[in-house]
């Protein structure tokens, strides 16, 4: 059964790629799960050294990417999933496509980012060595119900699995209150000494994510110093610190998908504010973003005002006007012609402004994907 499922998955992935049919990250896994519902529990697809899952509201993609980077740097074969394909179907796709049909050679590790809501279901289906719980905030509450409920489900599914290790940050009260069975080793990322973090990396990424990476690798037997060395040439994931050049203008992407990530990125921006002439906010309310945009008021207004002061300010996206009103109440001033729901229109508008060369873009999730597609000409997923 597994052979047939892998064959089908690979064939599908090949056809999707050949004809440019879109999401090669999720469809093969979707079909595989139909064909063989228990595929995730089949030991034939599990990597030889173990599977690590990364979940939480913010930082999943970057943390997963860092873990893979170090493990691969050590010469190990690592299977991982594409950013965004982090539901059961995306995970099935990654594991099946990472498997070879005819050789016995298996991946050493699988490092997979998992959607907060999908985590309990994934944990009950497959054998997992360790799970990294980064944080949990109010992102997409309208899709998920409330955070308390998710924490309860996480705790229960970890305790019912035969997982060996949980990495989390106990400075978050909600994590410090979680109780795990005695078989689970709990690693508190607060115990990672500041000095272990590579200074150059700390400038570009959130310290909490780096600490989670070091804690996990240490559990896997890789000392801090070695991990830090291997992380030296780490590059950001799409939309996180990426720079896209277009029409003589550099657009720097700062993914801002919820209050925590907007606030964190506004602070990062503040540090290098002088490099920029303009800021552009793009706010959508598509399903992956969460339909409710109320969260834009959960970010300290002084932070928003300070970032915008002295810069040209542009606003766009399906809910661009909501963001524009938010900026206005925070005390930010900008001409109303700098606001349009149409992203191409705003890009044109920016390109016509000769004084603007470097733009800091704060898009939420689907806005980031759309924006990249418009400027680069292809979708990443």
């Amino acid at each position: 059964m597994l052979f047939l499922t892998i064959l089908t998955t690979k064939l599908l992935a090949f056809l999707i790629k050949l004809f440019g049919l879109g999401s090669g990250g999720t469809w093969p896994g979707h079909v595989a799960l139909r064909l063989y519902p228990n595929v995730l529990s089949d030991s034939g697809i599990s990597p030889s050294l173990g599977t690590i899952l990364v979940s939480g509201t913010n930082g999943k993609t970057t943390t997963t990417k860092m873990l893979c980077h170090v493990l691969r740097g050590k010469g190990l074969v690592v299977t991982t999933n594409a950013s965004g394909a982090n539901l059961t179907n995306g995970i099935a796709s990654a594991l099946l496509l990472g498997n070879s049909l005819f050789s016995k050679r298996r991946a050493d590790y699988a490092v997979l980012e998992v959607d907060e809501f999908a985590l309990p279901s994934v944990l009950t289906q497959m054998k997992v060595e360790g799970v990294v719980l980064l944080n949990l905030s109010r992102d997409q509450l309208d899709r998920y119900g409330e955070t308390d409920l998710i924490l309860e489900r996480w705790e229960k599914s970890v305790n019912e699995s035969d997982i060996n290790c949980v990495v989390l940050d106990k400075s978050f009260k909600y994590f410090s209150e979680m109780r795990f069975t005695s078989g689970v080793q709990v690693v508190d990322t607060q115990d990672i000494p500041e000095g272990a973090l590579p200074a150059e990396l700390k400038e570009r990424f959130h310290a909490k994510n780096i600490k989670a990476v070091l804690a996990t690798l240490s559990f896997l037997g890789i000392p801090f110093e070695e991990a830090a060395l291997l992380l030296a040439d780490f590059q950001a994931a799409y939309g996180r610190g990426e720079v896209i050049g277009s029409g003589g203008i550099n657009f720097h992407l700062f993914l801002a998908k919820n209050p925590a990530s907007l606030a964190a990125n506004l602070k990062v921006f503040e540090e290098k504010k002088n490099d920029f002439d303009a800021v552009l906010f793009i706010l959508n309310d598509n399903i992956p973003d969460g339909r409710d945009v109320s969260w834009i008021y959960d970010v300290e207004p002084s932070l928003v005002l300070s970032a915008c002061t002295g810069k040209e300010v542009y606003v766009s996206g399906v809910r661009g006007f909501d963001m524009a009103v938010r900026l206005d109440y925070a005390g930010v001033s900008f001409p109303q012609k700098n606001v349009s729901v149409s992203v191409p229109e705003i890009i044109e508008h920016i390109k016509n402004k000769s004084s603007v060369k470097n733009v800091a873009v704060f898009p939420n999730y689907s806005a980031m994907l759309d924006f990249r597609k418009m400027l680069v000409g292809r979708k990443i997923l």
Partner: protein
């Protein structure tokens, strides 16, 4: 002109979906008119600790996750009840959003049948049907009830019309007692219970609503109405509302 004194109940616990935005909007719209505005934070604990409560003319209470609502429940019922009851009865202005709207009612019945007593100031009760009925989530629009829309204060301050826009996200469904006025009548979305097209409640000059988060950012005309009622004036100086008007117009099309 009088000063606007906003009493903000349980800011630390009940601020789930950008509820702070409402305070920001009220303060900004006062500031732009040179109307003095103060915020009195009313937290957990004895009311006697507050000396500025008597000056409060706009009382606000937001929504929160279950755990936060549980954490303020005793305090709200035991410490704040007399103040809130007198406040509403005296005809002063207030806004109670989502979870606090429910707590102001008679009771909240959970899916397992247990009843949580409310303050009983709003003549309404809330029932959670568990898995039998889905959560009421999404964009919502409603037409203000005629007590508000025909109020001379609303007529003189309004610049957008009788429709109010918002986002709702509630598992409990609220039913008003017979003869009680809703805040508005649903034109799109669920409202109180997804059955009778009512949305929220009006008791004196206090409003309970499921329009959560920054409802006043989406409805600046409602913000002005509340400010004028709180200050007991018939008119307010006009502001440049080109941007908020464009935003309101764009939001009217949302599905």
């Amino acid at each position: 002109m009088n000063k606007l004194s906003i009493g903000y109940l349980y800011k630390d616990e009940l601020n789930l979906y950008g509820d702070n935005g409402n305070i920001e909007v009220l303060a900004a719209r006062c500031l732009r008119r040179d109307i003095e505005c103060e915020i009195v934070l009313i937290n957990k604990g004895k009311l006697s600790a507050y000396d500025r409560l008597s000056g409060v003319n706009l009382l606000f209470m937001g929504g929160g996750p279950d755990s936060s609502q549980k954490s303020i429940y005793r305090d709200f019922l035991e410490e704040k009840e007399p103040f809130v009851r007198d406040y509403v009865a005296s005809g002063k202005t207030g806004l109670f959003v989502c979870g606090s709207y429910q707590l102001m009612g008679d009771y909240y019945r959970s899916a397992d049948g247990t009843e949580l007593k409310g303050l009983g100031i709003f003549k309404a009760h809330t029932v959670h049907f568990g898995k039998n009925k889905p959560r009421c989530i999404g964009n919502v629009r409603a037409r203000l009830n005629n007590q508000i829309s025909s109020d001379s204060v609303f007529k003189s301050t309004d610049f957008l019309g009788e429709e109010v826009l918002g986002f709702e996200n509630h598992g409990g469904r609220t039913y008003l007692d017979a003869g009680v006025k809703p805040f508005a009548h649903v034109t799109y979305g669920h409202g109180n219970n997804s059955e009778d097209a009512t949305e929220g409640i009006v008791e004196g000059n206090c409003i309970g609503t499921y329009f959560h988060g920054p409802v006043l950012a989406k409805n600046p005309h409602l913000a002005d109405y509340l400010i004028a009622k709180a200050l007991d004036v018939n008119e307010l100086p006009k502001l440049n509302d080109a941007l908020t008007t464009a935003s309101y117009t764009a939001s009217k099309k949302l599905r």
